[in-house]
Amino acid sequence: MARTQTNLTQGAVTRYEDAFAQFEREHPAPAWLQTKRREAIQTFARLGFPTVRDEEWKYTDITPAANLVATPIFHFELNGAAAQVRTQLPFQTLEGHRLAFVNGHYAPDLSHIGELPTGVEISPLSEAIAADSERVQQAFGRSVNGEETFVALNTAFAQDGAFVFVPADVELVEPVHLLFLTTGDAATVSHPRNLILLGHNASLKLVETYCSSTEGVYLTNAVTEIESGAGARIEHTKAQLESPKAFHVSTIQVGAARDSQLRSSVLNIGGRLVRNNSIAVMQGEGAEVTLNGLVLTDHEQHIDNHTTMDHAQPHCASHEMYAHVLNDKSVGVFNGKIFVRLDAQKTDAKQSNRTILLSGDATINAKPQLEILADDVRCTHGATIGQLDETAQFYLQTRGVPAREARSILIRAFAGEVLEPISLEVVRDEMEARITAKLK
């Protein structure tokens, strides 16, 4: 008799439940958080890990990530290794405020919070919780879907991550860089948790980077919740540079208030098995959300991006552009859901998904998923799948550009559609360099 996939991960669920007991003992939380954690572990145990029979996970078998046997690291200090690790960090020349986390734990040696304008709060989430932050207590978990397995798992085990608060009418000029690094050769699991709050007309540039200093097997299960006040502006960039053997699951959920603007770019280069959920809920009229993504894979990488544009209010605009460049036997999955609720008249939603297959063995599973309940809306979506433009490649070569470089130039041009709108030059340039290096 065939075992079902739920059975295949049942052991893992039990292991997490056991680990939770230990976690609670070693890391007691304030009552409000303890309640949330306990609810979350119960939800997680009830839901279990998804299988490919779940519509949302049809093309991505997450079993290997679920079954990763890791010793929980509830305490971690970098100690002497900081100096060595520091030189390997991505975006080193990025000015601004940096919070670094190693194996899920705040690393002050690698961080630099710097001067902050009046009222702005940037701190490790653990410190904000310890300091009884009223804001954190109110907002924690408010904007994410607690009924999703990985969010529940994260909520149960979340220890640290970033807390950022930009008060009304404040423009934080320098970017905030959240850096999540995994080190060491032993398998680890970390659950970074970020809470980002913006007041009315506040503005923020946020960069999330996930990377590793080893080629190890590990799981990052990150959750970033963002709440933007009316008229707020956020530029969010996520660089997923995990180890080639890593599992990475993430949820970014944004609540976009009236007239707010959010632009998010999720750039995927690393990871063996990756699932990103990006969810934007347009909660106020006039909100404008852009969710862009780039996927560059080779070997047997599998990268799945699920996006949701939830038009909950009228007169909101959403734009979406996902670009995939897939080589070897790698797999890309893109599911772009556009949900236009009954009241959301005058919605303007655009989605495009473009794929270049560099190899006959690479696969893309891409689908738009439109659910439109309002009648006066404009929704467009388009998808293209093709190879690199052979004529352009030939043209470059006839001018003396070596074949490989010509290919790299064309791929960078393709990726440029996602990279170019990013205003942080350091991020853009380094990502381009990383793409170039990966194509070598």
Binding site: D389, E390, T391, A392, F394, Y395, L396, Q397, T398, R399, G400, V401, P402, A403, E405, A406, I409, L410, R412, A413, F414, G416, E417
Partner: protein, 252 residues
């Protein structure tokens, strides 16, 4: 001899397009290739430049003594072959300056020379734009993207000036040019002429040959050179068209 084409046969998608071409080009010479639409002129240019999908089934091509057909397109460029495209390719998102630098440095690397630094590169490029009256701002744009027909052709000759090839093939570089641009482009081509290099101009019109005066004119018809002569052959064509020349080759 710079270029020696011997009994060249080539297929495109299984169909024989070039059917035994023989052509010898010496340094310092200008050759014009004329012929009706679809006779194989651009195919010949593509085969010489090394385009994928154009299968040489017979014959050989020597470039400065080397077996040209054995080289990748970029190696042919580095050896000194240049093709000005009949339809220059638009490449959105690829900055012209970055492209030109990659081209120059690719060729330099092939010859074991160090890369050109940014400053010397820019100086060189700017000097060459003057040759064809191109506004420098095109360097900041994507390769050929949204260039007018004439600008595209000028940009091709500009690239030729930059790469200084031994043999340049200009495939209908005159089409799409207004009278003034035709003069500019022709004088650019003439300025690049030297006793050490040679030019092949593919054209339909005498007009261009008034400016770029050929030493030889060849008529390509159904994949073969059916007649060669001096510059007066082009004038003869202008008068009587291809019929009198090709009549004897038309299959019955």
């Amino acid at each position: 001899m710079l270029l020696e084409i011997k009994n060249l046969h080539a297929n495109v998608e299984g169909k024989e397009i070039l059917r035994g071409i023989n052509l010898t080009i010496n340094p310092g010479e200008v050759h014009a290739i004329m012929g009706p639409n679809g006779s194989g002129k651009s195919t010949l240019a593509a085969v010489l430049a090394g385009r994928d999908g154009y299968d040489v089934t017979e014959g050989e091509v020597l470039f400065d003594g080397k077996d040209l057909l054995d080289l990748a397109p970029e190696e042919r460029a580095a050896e000194g072959l240049f093709l000005a495209f009949q339809y220059p390719v638009e490449i959105p998102g690829v900055n012209t300056q970055i492209f030109l630098r990659a081209a120059l440095n690719g060729i330099r690397k092939y010859h074991g020379q160090p890369e050109l630094d940014a400053l010397s590169f820019l100086k060189l490029v700017k000097a060459k734009t003057k040759l064809v009256n191109l506004d420098e701002s095109f360097l900041k744009r994507s390769v050929n993207e949204n260039f007018s027909g004439g600008e595209k052709k000028k940009a091709e000759i500009f690239q030729m000036a930059l790469l200084e090839p031994k043999v340049a093939i200009l495939d209908e570089t005159d089409s799409g040019l207004d009278i003034d641009a035709l003069k500019v482009v022709s004088s650019g081509v003439n300025a690049l002429k030297s006793p050490n290099n040679s030019t092949i101009v593919i054209t339909h019109y005498q007009r261009l040959l008034n400016y770029i005066v050929p030493d030889f004119v060849h008529i390509l018809y159904k994949g073969q050179i059916v007649r060669s002569g001096g510059k007066e052959l082009a004038l003869e064509l202008e008068e009587g068209g291809y019929d009198p020349i090709t009549a004897q080759f038309t299959e019955v």
